[in-house]
Each structure stands twice: as structure tokens, then as C-alpha cells.
């Protein structure tokens, strides 16, 4: 397989920094202007004090990846407070608020199916032979917002190859842990628990695909899918399954949780595609967290050079 190095996004497509303002500053100013509020003074004071601060200022990747984007990183506080993780509740703040009693350690992962080596393995043993690497990826949610996240993890292919998948293994099926006592969202059947996801073998083996254990060089927090999650940057965020307890090599395309929930809206592939709208909303643009103006969504979330060849000849409108 030919994997070209990215030139990433042509610089012409990147919104110049000076053409957008800090969102909070902008909203404060427009709100103050629009409403003519007496509290404008207070708002501007707040804006002045709300300058960035946190791990993103000091953090530098120890081992930069070949496909890293050089776009501005989303602050750690935003990445850890604005989450879709229905196991802890449906609101964006729920995962951070309701995941306090979740225990990501000790952790075991079951490897099963069409592979030479299968069985239950301790997380430490699963990770031990590998050196985690930093990977800065764009993350695009199906709802129309996006972030730039510096993940820490191991290329999924490196992990999968250790188990020797056989020629019968055409798909990889992942399962999230089922612990209603620690995950209050699982007490209601909003989705069919446990959450399951899947990738085609070539997608799983693509060098972009990451088995992540951290963000900004620190271990994953519960709300981000501790202790182990998938990262598939050219697909909508819900494909990147969190808190994985099972990796199953199988022969046929599995059904995924969102596909089961709304088959007309969420397909198996769920590649980021600005030309194929969600039936109820447009996917042409996205709001990057921290920015005021929406930006154009890129085909395959900007990873076309690395992944487009896997889908050549496929009707992406049918295989959404």
C-alpha cells in the first residue's frame, strides 16, 4: 500500500489566524454590542482575564507523527469537558460530571476470533511491547463540531499484528465495557449497550488508526474513554469507540451501535464527507471549538492522501 506523506491542507484553505477572533472575545463583543448591555464592561474585563492557560502552552510532542497537523491545538480543558460519551449521560458536560466513580484500572482486554493468539490480556501486557507516540489529529464530530487533539497512543496495526489475524479476519469488532453501576448512562436504553464499533481490516491497519491511551501526554481521563480507546481521524467521532474491553477478528461486516440506533442516519463507514449530508443536517461545514466562524469540512477530514485509496470505486453516498 502506498502511503504518501501529507502536505496536509493547502495553506490557502487554512483560515488565517488574524481573520478569526477568539470565540469568547468575539461573542462577548457582539453580545455586548447587540444587547447594549450595561455589563459590557464586566464582560470585557472577563475577556481580558480569560486568556489561555493550561497544558497546551507547555506541551510539545516527544515523538511527532508523520501525519500531524500544525493547526492550533484545542485546549485541554475543552477536550476534557465537552464530550459525547452516552454511557455517562447525553449532555456534553455529563461525561466529566458523572464519570468520577468509573475505575479504569485494573483493566483487561479480550482478544477473540480469527487470530492465532486469542484470550484475556491485562492492559499492561497489551501495551508493554510498544512505545506510545504523540499524534496530533483533527477530530470531527458527526454533530458538526471539531477539535485538534494531541493523542498519545500506539498504532492499532502494531497491536493487532501481535495476535496474528488469519486470512479469515476481514473486520475488527470492538466492544465498550458494560458497567451500569459505574456508568449511569447505561441504566437507560438510549442506545443498545454495550457500545460496539467496527473497522474493515485495511482501515484498522491504516497507519493513521491509533489505539489511544492519553491526551497531551497524560493518561486518558474517564470522560475521554479511559483507559483505552480507538482514534480513527478520518471518520466521525463516534467510530472512535471508548473504554474498549474486547477486540474481535471476524469475517463479516458487523453492525455498529449507531447504525442499529438509526440505520438511515449512521452507516458502517461514517467517513467524514462534506458532500454527503446527514439526513437531518448539513456536513459541509463545522465549528472548530474555540472559533467563531464555521470552517469548511474537508473530505476524509483532510486525510484523503492517506485513506482515499481504500474507498476507490465505492459509492460513498451509498456507503455512508
Amino acid at each position: 500500500m502506498l502511503i504518501r506523506r501529507p502536505h496536509d491542507i493547502p495553506s490557502s484553505e487554512i483560515t488565517p489566524e488574524d481573520s478569526y477572533l477568539n470565540r469568547r472575545e468575539f461573542i462577548r463583543k457582539t453580545a455586548a454590542l447587540g444587547a447594549g448591555m450595561a455589563i459590557a464592561g464586566a464582560g470585557l474585563t472577563a475577556a481580558a482575564t480569560a486568556t489561555a492557560g493550561g497544558p497546551q502552552d507547555k506541551w510539545r510532542p516527544k515523538s511527532p507523527g508523520p501525519y500531524d497537523t500544525d493547526e492550533e491545538l484545542t485546549p485541554y480543558t475543552d477536550i476534557t469537558s465537552y464530550n459525547n460519551f452516552y454511557e455517562f449521560g447525553i449532555d456534553k458536560g455529563d461525561p466529566a460530571a458523572n464519570s468520577g466513580s468509573f475505575k479504569p484500572s485494573p483493566w483487561k482486554v479480550e482478544v477473540a476470533g480469527e487470530a492465532k493468539k486469542t484470550g484475556l490480556i491485562d492492559l499492561e501486557d497489551l501495551l508493554k511491547p510498544h512505545t506510545p507516540v504523540d499524534r496530533i489529529y483533527r477530530h470531527r464530530c458527526v454533530e458538526g463540531w471539531s477539535m485538534v487533539i494531541p493523542w498519545l497512543g500506539i498504532p492499532l496495526a502494531d497491536v493487532l499484528n501481535r495476535f496474528g489475524p488469519t486470512s479469515k479476519a476481514r473486520y475488527v469488532h470492538f466492544t465498550t465495557v458494560l458497567r451500569p453501576e459505574e456508568m449511569p448512562g447505561q441504566k437507560r436504553s438510549v442506545l443498545a449497550w454495550p457500545y460496539v464499533e467496527g473497522l474493515r481490516m485495511d482501515e484498522a491497519m491504516n497507519p493513521l488508526t491509533l489505539l489511544a491511551t492519553g491526551i497531551y501526554g497524560k493518561s486518558l481521563l474517564n470522560q475521554n474513554g479511559a483507559p483505552l480507546r480507538l482514534v480513527v481521524p478520518w471518520k466521525y467521532g463516534f467510530k472512535s469507540i471508548k473504554s474498549i474491553v474486547k477486540i474481535n477478528f471476524i469475517g463479516t461486516q458487523p453492525k455498529t451501535t449507531w447504525e442499529l440506533s438509526a440505520p438511515g442516519e449512521y452507516g458502517f463507514y461514517s467517513n467524514v464527507n462534506p458532500e454527503v449530508d446527514h439526513p437531518r443536517w448539513s456536513q459541509a461545514r463545522e465549528r472548530r471549538i474555540g472559533e467563531f466562524f464555521k470552517r469548511k469540512t474537508l473530505m476524509f477530514n483532510g486525510y484523503g492522501e492517506q485513506v482515499a485509496s481504500m474507498y476507490s470505486g465505492m459509492d460513498l453516498r451509498k456507503n455512508f
Binding site: 461573542i27 453580545a31 469537558s81 452516552y86 438510549v190 440506533s261 437531518r280 465549528r287 464555521k294
Partner: protein, 211 residues
């Protein structure tokens, strides 16, 4: 000697009732503005503002539509005095919600908004609800009641029922998986409209049995 019913007794409480409700109705908008200025919204504040103003529009529709049933069922006639104000607050929150979409979310990108309306059923439903509110807000004054005549005015203002249904449908069509919240509003609305239907049917029967 007749004692005025407690609900209609004049006095300080009577005079303060309306201004107090007025201030209460401003709390959601004030809280939202406060949280915005003190940086207490989430990482996606525009979405928060959209959701808050939308939710409060639905709540105010329900509160406004609850006035007449509460008056009739419990004799709380004092509520009649704030019905118009509650209706106008509904319109205020709907307007804030509409402009959050047009201004903050789409930034007056008319082309993209026009493309959204027919393609996105939930936006069409919300837009319908909002547009139907406009004539009701315009004709909310005493002058307009006189100009139209009570009968026609009342007929026109029944558009709020369609608006309320469109609003609930708007919410139902935009949620991803958990329909519990929109369904709750749907149930409340069904009760409020069901009450009116029963009332109409009962009055018709009374009239028929008299005739």
C-alpha cells in the same frame, strides 16, 4: 357581606404580581448572559445559547398555554392578567433563538440558511413556529384586539397551537437518540390542547342539550 375571592383581592400583592412575574421571566435570559460573560458555558457556547433559548421558548409556550386551563379549572383568574406578557416573553425567547441561529450560528449566510430550510425538516418546523408567532406578537396590543374584533382576534391567536406543535416537532426531529425530553414537551402540550378540546366538546353538548 361578600368577601372577594383570594385570587382577586386587590392590594400590594395584587400590584406587585405582574412586575414580579416580569422579572422572573427575565431570569433565564439573565442567567444565560451571566454565564456567557463569566465564561461558565461549555466549550461550544454558541450551541449552548441555541439550546438554552430554544428550551426556554418551548417552556414559555407551555406556561402561556397553561394559563387558560388553570384559570378555568382552579378559578385562578389573576393569571389572566399575565397571559399576554407570557406570550410576549415566548416571542422574545423565540426571537433570541432565531437570531442565535441566523447570526451566531450561520453568521447571516443567507444562502446557506435558505438551503437549510427546505432540506432540514427540523429547521423548517422551527421556522414555521417562529413565523407564526410574528403576527401574534404584532396584534397583541389592545388596539389590535379592537381593530380585529374579539372573534377574529381569538381565531388568529389560535395559531399559537400550530406554533407550539411545530416547536415540539422541531425539537423531536433534531435530537440524536434520546427522545425523552421532546416527548415530555409533547405530552405536556397534548394535555394542554386536550383540555381545550374537551372544553369545546363539552360546551357544544351543553348548547345542544339546551337547544
Amino acid at each position: 357581606m361578600t368577601v372577594p375571592p383570594p385570587g382577586n383581592s386587590p392590594g400590594l400583592a395584587h400590584r406587585l404580581f405582574k412586575p414580579a412575574v416580569f422579572l422572573l421571566c427575565l431570569i433565564p435570559a439573565g442567567a444565560l448572559a451571566w454565564n456567557l460573560f463569566t465564561d461558565n458555558l461549555s466549550a461550544n457556547p454558541i450551541k449552548d445559547i441555541t439550546e438554552e433559548t430554544g428550551t426556554w421558548t418551548l417552556r414559555f409556550v407551555m406556561i402561556t398555554l397553561a394559563v387558560t386551563p388553570l384559570r378555568k379549572a382552579f378559578g385562578w383568574n389573576r393569571l389572566g392578567r399575565i397571559r399576554r406578557m407570557l406570550g410576549l416573553f415566548t416571542f422574545m425567547y423565540a426571537t433570541l433563538h432565531f437570531f442565535t441561529y441566523v447570526w451566531l450560528d450561520q453568521f447571516f449566510d443567507i444562502e446557506s440558511i435558505l438551503a437549510d430550510i427546505p432540506k432540514r425538516p427540523f429547521i423548517l418546523a422551527g421556522f414555521t413556529a417562529f413565523v407564526l408567532f410574528i403576527p401574534l406578537a404584532v396584534t397583541s396590543t389592545a388596539g389590535w384586539v379592537r381593530r380585529l374584533g374579539g372573534k377574529r382576534w381569538r381565531f388568529l391567536h389560535r395559531a399559537v397551537y400550530i406554533s407550539a406543535i411545530a416547536g415540539v416537532v422541531h425539537y423531536l426531529w433534531l435530537v440524536k437518540a434520546d427522545i425523552r425530553r421532546p416527548v415530555t414537551y409533547g405530552v405536556i402540550l397534548a394535555i394542554l390542547l386536550g383540555y381545550r378540546l374537551v372544553d369545546v366538546l363539552r360546551n357544544r353538548n351543553v348548547r345542544r342539550s339546551r337547544g
